[in-house]
């Protein structure tokens, strides 16, 4: 009895591991196939622009408003910590560095996963459920090139741009709270920021992070859509999986990338 239970447990774990390996394999195979948008330039480029609009422009309101509030909160919290050391003039430096290095890439990627990632999964999942992807295949049009590739590249292009916009709005939000509300001299706010922010160290590394997040979030979103069980519950599960997995992947990758960029622990 005991041995049987043990064997069953091992079998259960083994099956789970096999399923995970198969899933990772499928996702990797999928990723390689969706990189190419096929031949020609004009039509694929038009499709790419459509996706930049869908994923980027339509995400602007949530990203900009979030950026503004995150910047405002950072300034408020930073001021109350720094004032204890008499260093409240450094709040501009704190807001800018926090946003450019961490909050910008991470929060924008999380918002992007929720706003654009879930929409991508639901859209592709529904196309699968209504046989639109099959119809395309039968017409000799590869859905990987026609549907998936423009969405992947659209995500990769838009997320870094959204990240920069998030940080810029955050810095202005921080300036509003620090200068207008808390009464810090605006010259100190901007000068401290200017002295401490390094373009290559802070801005470029933040954008590199957001590029990595963009690839992972968009890849997961379109993969889950393509891999969804073609039922209403299947699409609902796939959408949830996208948001959960993409969010966790962003947070885990952020730690790894930060460690690598800082040159160790």
């Amino acid at each position: 009895m005991m041995v049987k239970a043990l064997v069953n447990r091992v079998r259960f774990i083994g099956n789970g591991m096999l399923n995970i390996s198969a899933g990772v394999g499928r996702a990797a195979w999928f990723f390689i196939h969706v990189l190419s948008w096929g031949s020609g330039f004009k039509a694929p480029f038009k499709r790419l622009l459509q996706q930049v609009y869908q994923l980027g422009v339509l995400s602007l309101p949530i990203v900009l408003v979030a950026g503004l509030f995150v910047g405002m909160v950072l300034a408020l919290q930073g001021y109350h910590i720094l004032v204890g050391y008499g260093s409240q003039e450094a709040v501009g430096q704190m807001v800018a560095l926090s946003l450019l290095r961490e909050f910008g890439p991470v929060v924008t990627a999380l918002l992007f996963a929720g706003r654009a990632g879930s929409a991508l999964t639901a859209e592709i999942g529904l196309m699968k459920a209504t046989e639109q992807l099959s119809a395309m295949e039968i017409m000799g049009v590869d859905p990987f090139k026609r549907i998936m590739a423009p969405r992947l590249w659209g995500g990769v292009i838009t997320l870094p741009i959204l990240t920069v916009m998030f940080s810029v709005l955050g810095i202005y939000g921080g300036a509003f709270v620090a200068v207008e509300v808390l009464g810090i001299y605006d010259g100190s706010y901007w000068a401290n920021m200017q002295n401490s922010v390094e373009f290559n160290e802070d801005v470029v590394k933040g954008v590199v992070k957001s590029l990595v997040f963009a690839v992972v979030v968009t890849w997961l979103a379109i993969f889950h859509g393509w891999n969804a069980t073609p039922t209403s519950q299947g699409i609902s599960r796939a959408t949830t999986a996208t948001v959960v997995q993409a969010s966790l992947a962003v947070l885990a990758l952020d730690f790894i990338l930060t460690a690598v960029m800082l040159g160790g622990f």
Partner: protein, 264 residues
């Protein structure tokens, strides 16, 4: 007679259930081949095997001399430009108008100027009686109309082989009569090869040159419509003439009812 497509000793199973069991059939070039059978006997699966969307467990699918299961992804897409499938659900692109749906493959695979695409699309829509609905969205169409648009779309590129999956389901009598005539005429005028999967026996037999009857994953009859109609096979007779009693059970395999609803 030359065959455009051929299934050779083909078996296919899904989730451990055998759907097609060592099927061999030929689809002659230029003819209308009807594949009949009760619902759930693997007719649609068979079309998906021909188009390479599914791979058989064993056996081969040969289309125009090419073994479909062993084609690379690129070669498969090249072959598919010459095939067409009318889906049971229509499978129209929901974010495109009727016009754009029909124009889709023309835009993807040709470099025709816009005015020529417009004329071709309107001619295709005229042939299915829906030129007036060119600017409607698929959500504004009835099920039958959507199927007719899908038919116009599948004919857009003049395919060499066209596969119809239940084209008559949900059609009113007038549309049904037009479709029956259209499928036959299109086949003859454009020198296509047609495969028609259906359980509408009379309509299918009226236009087919050759018939195969599938039941429970096996072929239970084949031949010309006349030959099939004169069959002595009880299984085939039950299906063709819609008899309630016969070897084909109406019920999906299950435990006896008494055992299930009156457990001891």
């Amino acid at each position: 007679m030359e065959n455009f497509a051929e299934l050779v000793d083909l078996s296919f199973s899904r989730d451990g259930r055998l759907i097609l069991d060592h099927i061999s059939l030929q689809i002659p070039k230029g003819k209308v081949t009807a594949i009949l059978g009760p619902s759930g006997t693997g007719k649609t699966t068979l079309l998906r095997l021909i188009s390479g969307q599914l791979k058989p467990d064993s056996g081969d699918v040969i289309v125009d001399g090419l073994s479909v299961p062993s084609l690379s992804r690129n070669d498969l897409f090249t072959l598919r430009k010459r095939l067409s499938l009318l889906f049971q659900t229509g499978a129209l692109f929901t974010d495109m108008s009727v016009f754009e749906n029909v124009a889709f493959s023309l835009r993807e695979h040709t470099r025709l100027p816009e005015h020529m695409i417009r004329d071709l699309v309107l001619l295709r829509l005229q042939s299915v009686g829906l030129r007036g609905a060119a600017h409607h969205m698929p959500s504004e169409l009835s099920g039958g109309m959507a199927r007719r648009v899908a038919l116009a779309r599948s004919l857009a590129l003049d395919p060499e082989l066209i596969m119809y999956d239940e084209p008559f389901t949900g059609q009113d009598p007038i549309s049904m009569a037009v479709l029956v005539k259209l499928i036959r005429n299109v086949n003859d005028l454009l020198s296509l090869t047609s495969v028609l999967v259906s359980h509408d026996v009379e309509e299918a037999l009226s236009i087919a040159d050759q018939v195969y009857v599938l039941s429970h994953g096996r072929l239970i009859g084949e031949g010309t419509p006349e030959h099939v109609r004169q069959t002595d096979s009880p299984e085939l007779k039950q299906f063709l003439f819609g008899h309630v009693d016969g070897p084909v059970s109406f019920h999906y395999p299950s435990k006896p009812l008494a055992q299930e609803v009156l457990p001891l």
